[in-house]
């Protein structure tokens, strides 16, 4: 079994050299975040991940959360670890300083959350949902709601949940049926919600549910849904916990992965109705949900990076210790560890190269998010907002899809032992599998990308990013290092493939949205593939400059260039096939009749 060690060097490289932490900390509100402070935070967060969270991951998988009589007990050790997490102040990492948070920028929160997710993704879902609720309250809560809920949610003594899905309302939330009936200064909520992550558990004193529901006179469809706060325990005027609200967990799901994260069926209002309070204006619930969904989608994309990294470390450890066969061409002599076999090396490299590319892209998106909030120049704020909106479906969709493939490669490297649960490789694959589904499936991400993010704005942001990529191609061509120049010529072809496909989507979207929908996922993957190559090539340029300047960390930089070369030779080349699929693949999907299935 391997033990997790946070990839601090790569995280620091991406944050400081690739993304430009200094640009972020130069902005107002971020000045306290010095480079050595970030190092100290990362060090300690990595220690917490490796020593507290990771040891619980396997037991969390085998034992899982348990539900009996409406009560959910978390997996062994989780309650104590959560208490440590809260005591350590980690829940308030990027929380508002007005409510007791540390207000660290997203770009610093990314590596920290990556570590925790690598160590124990099921655990991390609890604080992740809490931060979603905080985001919603920040956005549209009343001052008194903020005062009442935000400090304890920021501390983590209370946790939060998001209640969107109902049996008949999954990706289509227009079908939400949960009812909210006004009664004095509050509402009575009745209905059933499913797939509620950490909907009930024993780790926090109170659970604050955010619930989408309809008022009796609300219009049909998405425009008639409002958002309500429903606390598990009602709160007395002095802030202490009062009566149990009329909401309970009916059962938890038996799932493929993340067993330690209870996925609850929640029943609201079995008796008199659960007491709820409206958040923001009526009938705007879904709109609010979508704003905070952006954050949640970035967070799920990061889970993809995290599981990929963990699966890579696990497979690397096995490949370094498992002795099997002789080196190719050797008929006698010592048997070797499998890391010496070219095919295993290729698999490991595909894991490593893609994980690094995914990390670079996800952190880049988070830096754009920080700039969209804090940049002093309004024009820059808007430019970065457009960039982050554009990148989010790509980070979410691509990082999670690749993560499943990477975790699967991790199993493959273990051979038969990978299929056996006790080596632990299978858990990463099973845990990874949810990431392409929740917070909007890959199909939903792709629909968002081709529609709102490309089609409606005629590709404005997409072409701006392509422009940046072309600038990079020109820079790569000028490099004195032949290997870096080689990356440039591959990148040039990939960028042109991507430009062709983007143009096709822009041209086709107004006249034949069906055709675009048929190839939207390949289009998303194409963007991921090339954007990953873009980041890896940038990384290689920076590493090359570091080597030329005689940086003392030459081994890291050389490995970075070699990894970028692998990405360029093996992964980036998929872009031409993906581009072909986008530009030519729609008709065979649309033209196939129902009866032919």
């Amino acid at each position: 079994m391997s033990t997790y060690a946070a990839p601090l060097r790569d995280m620091q490289f991406v944050m400081k050299e690739l993304v430009g932490l200094a640009d972020i900390t130069a902005m107002p509100d971020c000045a306290e975040v010095t480079s050595d402070l970030v190092d100290a935070v990362l060090d300690e967060a990595g220690r917490f991940a490796a020593e507290v969270l990771e040891p619980l991951n396997r037991g969390g998988d085998t034992h899982g959360a348990q539900c009996a009589d409406g009560k959910v007990s978390s997996a062994p050790g989780f309650k104590a670890a959560y208490e440590q997490f809260v005591t350590g102040g980690w829940n308030g990492l990027s929380g508002e300083s007005d409510f007791g948070g540390q207000g660290l920028p997203h770009v610093v929160a990314m590596p920290v959350q990556e570590m925790w997710n690598s160590a124990n993704m099921a655990f991390c879902l609890c604080p992740m949902l809490t931060s979603g609720v905080l985001e919603a309250l920040k956005l549209c809560g009343s001052p008194s709601q903020k005062q009442l809920f935000m400090p304890r949610l920021t501390a983590g003594t209370w946790s939060g949940t998001m209640n969107l899905t109902e049996p008949q309302a999954g990706s289509d939330l227009a079908a939400v049926r949960t009812r909210a009936i006004l009664e004095g200064d509050h509402y009575r909520i009745h209905g059933t919600k499913i797939f509620i992550t950490w909907g009930e558990h024993d780790m926090a004193e109170n659970i604050i549910h955010l619930v989408l529901a309809r008022k009796p006179d609300a219009p049909d469809g998405v425009k008639g849904i409002s958002l309500f706060i429903v606390p598990k325990f009602l709160i007395n005027t002095d802030g202490s916990l009062g009566e149990r609200n009329d909401v309970k967990c009916v059962s938890i799901e038996h799932k493929l992965g993340i067993h330690a994260s209870p996925t609850c069926v929640m029943s609201y209002g079995d008796a008199a109705g659960a007491i709820g309070y409206q958040v923001g204006e009526e009938n705007r619930g879904l709109e609010y949900m979508f704003i905070m969904m952006n954050h949640a989608r970035l967070a799920v994309g990061l889970e993809g990076v995290a599981i990929a990294e963990r699966a890579y470390q696990h497979a690397r450890e096995y490949a370094r210790t498992r002795v099997q066969g002789r080196a190719i061409g050797q008929k006698a002599g010592e048997r070797v560890t499998i890391i010496h076999h070219p095919d295993v090396r290729r698999m490991l490299l595909s894991m490593k190269a893609q994980t690094e590319a995914m990390r670079a892209l996800a952190y880049t998106a988070s830096a754009a998010l920080d700039k969209s909030k804090h940049h002093p120049d309004d024009k820059e704020r808007r430019r970065n907002q457009a960039l982050v909106d554009f990148l989010i479906p790509i980070v979410k969709g691509w990082c999670t899809e690749q993560c499943v493939e990477i975790a699967s490669t991790g199993v493959q490297i273990h051979g038969g032992m990978g299929f056996v649960e006790e080596t632990g490789a299978a858990q990463y694959l099973r845990d990874a599998r949810i990431t392409t589904i929740y917070e909007g499936t890959t199909g939903i991400q792709a629909a968002d990308l081709v529609g709102r993010k490309v089609g409606y704005e005629k590709g404005a942001t997409a072409f701006a990013v392509l422009g940046d990529m072309r600038k990079l191609v020109a820079e790569l061509a000028l490099s004195a290092n032949a290997e870096v120049r080689g990356l440039g010529s591959h990148m040039e072809q990939a960028v042109e493939s991507l430009a062709r496909a983007t143009q096709w989507v822009v041209d086709t979207f107004p006249k034949d949205p069906n055709a675009v929908a048929a190839v939207s996922v390949p289009f998303l993957k194409l963007w991921g593939t090339v954007a990953g190559g873009w980041q890896m090539a940038r990384a290689a340029l920076i590493a090359d400059a570091g080597l030329t300047a005689g940086a003392d960390d030459a081994d890291f930089y050389r490995a970075k260039i070699a990894t970028a070369k692998f990405y360029s030779d093996h992964i980036l080349q998929n872009s031409s096939a993906q581009s072909f699929e986008v530009c030519n693949g729609a008709s065979s999907v649309i033209g196939f009749h129902d009866a032919q299935f």
């Binding site: 402070l37 020593e51 102040g89």
Partner: protein
């Protein structure tokens, strides 16, 4: 009372150290560094004593390169109040460290100096004892329990035969053993706060003392690789091997 805690920056204990190719020492370039675990126990002890009451200030001091400020910040994040970096690029050996600490102790006038019993890099286990001798203060080494009572402290120390209980007059120098406590996890708010705590920088060459290395490293080698084991037929063969091959009985 006031407690002085020296802290040393060493290679992170979770990292496998490698010998430099030329055999002059251990490779430390680009390795993850951390606070020496025994020093961490010393800081933890001081912080616990402060939390229990009766301690007004904890001063941490580190001697070495600029990056030792990270080690000091770790101690500040754990709960120490103030830091002093004595900056030097010279190789620091226990006598030099003890001499510098003596100067600082004379200036700061702590009631107690808590020193890690040894550093995990050179394993010298000398600094605390030397400091006590140079200051002329009592020493209590390898302590696993400290209880201060007025002008003295009752301590328990770990010795080969078991536990020894002593009373030492303050001010005194104590060195920490592994079982004194289990250091806490640093909290995020405390990491943030540690940035604002005072940290004084003193150049070692301005102190006017001779801190030049006294010892010369001749050669550093990896320990021999462990050979493959063999299966023995019976106890007699084992006894024979222990007697004639290993020569241990």
């Amino acid at each position: 009372m006031k407690i002085l805690v020296p802290v040393k920056r060493v290679v992170d204990p979770n990292i496998k150290a490698r010998v430099k190719a030329d055999g002059t020492g251990v490779e430390t370039a680009n390795l993850k560094m951390a606070i020496n675990p025994f020093c961490e126990i010393a800081v933890e002890q001081a912080v616990r004593m402060k939390e229990e009451g009766g301690v007004d200030e904890i001063v941490v001091v580190s001697i070495g390169v600029t990056q030792c400020t990270e080690t000091i910040r770790t101690a500040l994040a754990m709960g120490a109040d103030r830091g002093i970096l004595v900056e030097t690029t010279l190789e620091m050996q226990p006598l030099a460290v003890a001499k510098i600490l003596k100067l600082i102790a004379e200036k700061e006038k702590p009631d107690l100096v808590i020193v890690g019993k040894q550093a995990i890099d050179d394993d010298c286990n000398q600094t605390g004892q030397m400091l006590s001798a140079l200051l002329g203060w009592p020493q209590a080494t390898f302590v696993s329990k400290i209880a201060v009572a007025g002008d003295h402290a009752d301590i328990t120390r770990e010795v080969d035969g078991g536990l020894e209980k002593l009373t030492v007059k303050l001010p005194a120098v104590m060195t920490t053993d592994l079982r004194l406590n289990e250091p806490r996890y640093v909290t995020l708010p405390n990491i943030m706060k540690s940035k604002k705590k005072p940290l004084e920088n003193v150049k070692a060459d301005t102190l006017g003392i001779d801190i030049a290395p006294r010892l010369t490293t001749l050669n550093v080698k990896e320990p021999p690789q462990r050979g493959a084991g063999v299966k023995l037929a019976d106890v007699a063969e084992l006894v024979n091997k222990l007697k004639n091959e290993a020569k241990v009985i």
